[in-house]
């Protein structure tokens, strides 16, 4: 549905994005993570046909994006910009009507009415956008983004600055888009949000540091991990845990975190060793590192790699 191959974008001497590649499938939510200035918005703008890549290509629904096709391709993409960007003096209905016409939506009035009903903003139709709360503005902006039923939806920080209820509403809308078979690319700093909705995750720091499912990233970075709760100080037992199939052991107060290659095979022997060493075990449960841990590890690894080979991360 959308593919980007080796996207690179320079602004003068500054390299904003380097060789970023990704594919977006129908019914998939793809999260783009990265620190501020990592190139997320630039990437989204290239995918939306707003700016041209210095090199590389973007393909939407089999149509290659170029200077000559960009206007047409933009019609297949819905791009929610970081700011809602509503015309303040126009009412909600007027804002949506203008965009419906710009996108050539048939039966404009009907489409606008249906969209407003879908997004729960029908009662605000006659209200000027300036009078809306931030959450409502974002909802209207989302409605505007989806008015022409795009196959590909690009969302730049869709829940930024929203209260928890509004953020949840937006998340539910994003999930609904996936259920409708749309391809959704979500750029965000909110890792909790990504954890809840994303099928695939990419971490960008000028270059794509990693692209995969959250589960695969977890397995790749941390393997399988066990969390063992003890009745005593866990640091005293770290040396006891070491053995075949165990790659990493850390302790936090009365908890041991143990990375193992095969939990079902290694756990009984591990428990026996701990009990023999006098450990009072309260529980042994599989531990899944949070997306935040994965994200921070990926950024740290990338930074270490860059320190080791500065040419790789030259910006």
């Amino acid at each position: 549905m959308l593919s980007a191959i080796n996207l690179t974008r320079r602004f003068g001497d500054r390299l904003a994005v380097e060789n970023a590649s990704l594919t977006l499938e129908p019914g998939q939510i793809f999260a783009l993570l990265g620190p501020n200035g990592a190139g997320k918005t630039t990437t989204l703008r290239m995918l939306a046909g707003l700016i041209e890549p210095s090199s590389g290509s973007v393909n939407v629904n089999g149509r290659a994006m170029s200077r000559h096709t960009a206007a047409e391709v933009r019609g297949h993409v819905g791009f929610l910009t970081e700011a809602p960007g509503l015309w303040d003096r126009l009412t909600v209905r007027q804002n949506l009507t203008v965009y419906a016409r710009l996108h050539g939506v048939p039966h404009v009035d009907q489409a606008v009415n249906e969209t407003m009903a879908l997004f729960g903003i029908a009662d605000r139709a006659a209200q000027p956008a300036a009078q809306l709360s931030k959450g409502l503005k974002q909802r209207v902006a989302l409605a505007r983004t989806l008015l022409h039923k795009p196959d590909v939806v690009l969302l730049d920080e869709p829940t930024s600055g929203l209260d928890p209820q509004s953020a949840r509403d937006v998340r539910e809308l994003v999930l609904r888009l996936r259920d409708e078979g749309r391809a959704v690319l979500l750029s965000t700093h909110n890792l909790d949000e990504v954890e809840r909705v994303a099928d695939r995750v990419a971490v960008l720091r000028t270059r794509m540091i990693a692209v995969d499912t959250p589960a695969a990233l977890r397995a790749r970075l941390f393997g399988s991990r066990l969390k063992i709760a003890l009745a005593q100080d866990a640091s005293l037992l770290v040396a006891t845990v070491a053995g075949p199939g165990i790659s990493e052991v850390t302790s936090e107060e009365q908890t041991l975190l143990v990375s193992v290659d095969n939990p079902s095979m290694r756990t009984p022997a591990l428990v026996r060793r701990l009990v023999a060493a006098g450990a009072d075990i309260l529980s042994v449960v599989p531990d899944e590192p949070s997306l935040e841990e994965i994200y921070l590890r990926l950024l740290k690894d990338a930074q270490d790699e860059r320190r080791a080979d500065p040419a790789k991360g030259s910006q």
Binding site: T81, G85, V98, L102, G104
Partner: protein, 267 residues
């Protein structure tokens, strides 16, 4: 054209919701409307001196004696006719000057309100965007000009000597209002929109936009001094030049509109 119309409707709704934007255009229009009446009717009435007795207007009198539209007018009427026709140019250009600030603000205004990026994310082409922006400023300013002309004509018909109103119904006068004026307005507003798409703050846009009215003011002064004669063939030639200039300006506007700079460098 569908997208131009969509954005044009937005521009007009936006202007209607903020009529204060056109206050300068209305004020300059009203001032330019009142000025010839003050010179041709109010001052002679207050001083008791006839314009046709003044040597300052002898040239006007000589020029107007040969005009078919002034046949049958007395000398005072002929001078009034000359004044009302000379000031027609000011009447036509004044609302344009007022609309310049609107046009100059149009792109930078969208950028500052952060409404430009969603707009550029639609299939709207640069030509369509600029076309709608220019028309959004042109239609109200031309509307004001036409309304001003109706008031002007009514005022002349009621207040000037009998028959003077005929000078406003000549091909030359009507061409100024309905052909030269709109074409000049289109050119000036296109320039202003070009400026708006190149500068990165609203104050620069408005200041540079204001400079564009200088050539128009120069033309007016030259005409009042008798240096330029807006004869019918001269106006047809001017209209053709303006039409070509408009085509050229639109091409230039499209080619210098840099979406990327606007999105990535303007703050």
């Amino acid at each position: 054209m569908r997208r131009v119309y969509a954005l044009l409707v937005k521009e007009l709704i936006d202007l209607r919701a903020n009529p204060a934007l056109f206050v300068p255009a209305v004020l300059t229009g009203l001032t330019s409307l009142a000025l010839p009446f003050v010179i041709a009717i109010v001052i002679p009435h207050l001083t008791g001196e006839r314009l046709s007795d003044s040597s300052d207007f002898q040239l006007a009198l000589d020029m107007y004696r040969s005009e078919p539209a002034t046949t049958g007018l007395n000398p005072e009427g002929a001078v009034q006719g000359w004044i009302f026709q000379q000031f027609l140019l000011l009447l036509v250009f004044a609302p344009i000057a007022g609309a310049m600030s609107v046009a100059a603000y149009t792109v930078i205004g969208e950028k500052q309100a952060r409404t430009l990026e969603p707009l550029l994310a639609t299939p709207l082409t640069t030509f369509e965007l600029l076309g709608a922006k220019v028309l959004g400023a042109l239609i109200p300013s031309v509307g004001l000009t036409f309304a001003g002309f109706l008031l002007y004509f009514g005022g002349v018909w009621l207040l000037a000597d009998p028959g003077v109103y005929r000078v406003l119904l000549t091909i030359r006068s009507l061409s100024i209002v309905f052909m030269l004026g709109p074409l000049a307005a289109l050119a000036a507003l296109q320039l202003a929109v070009c400026v708006s798409s190149r500068v990165n703050d609203a104050r620069s846009a408005q200041q540079i936009g204001a400079l564009i009215i200088l050539p128009l003011s120069g033309l007016l002064v030259a005409q009042l001094m008798g240096r330029v004669q807006l004869t019918t063939p001269a106006m047809i030639a001017a209209a053709l030049v303006l039409a070509l200039l408009n085509v050229l300006l639109m091409r230039i506007g499209v080619s210098i509109f840099d979406r990327e700079s606007i999105l990535t460098r303007w703050k």
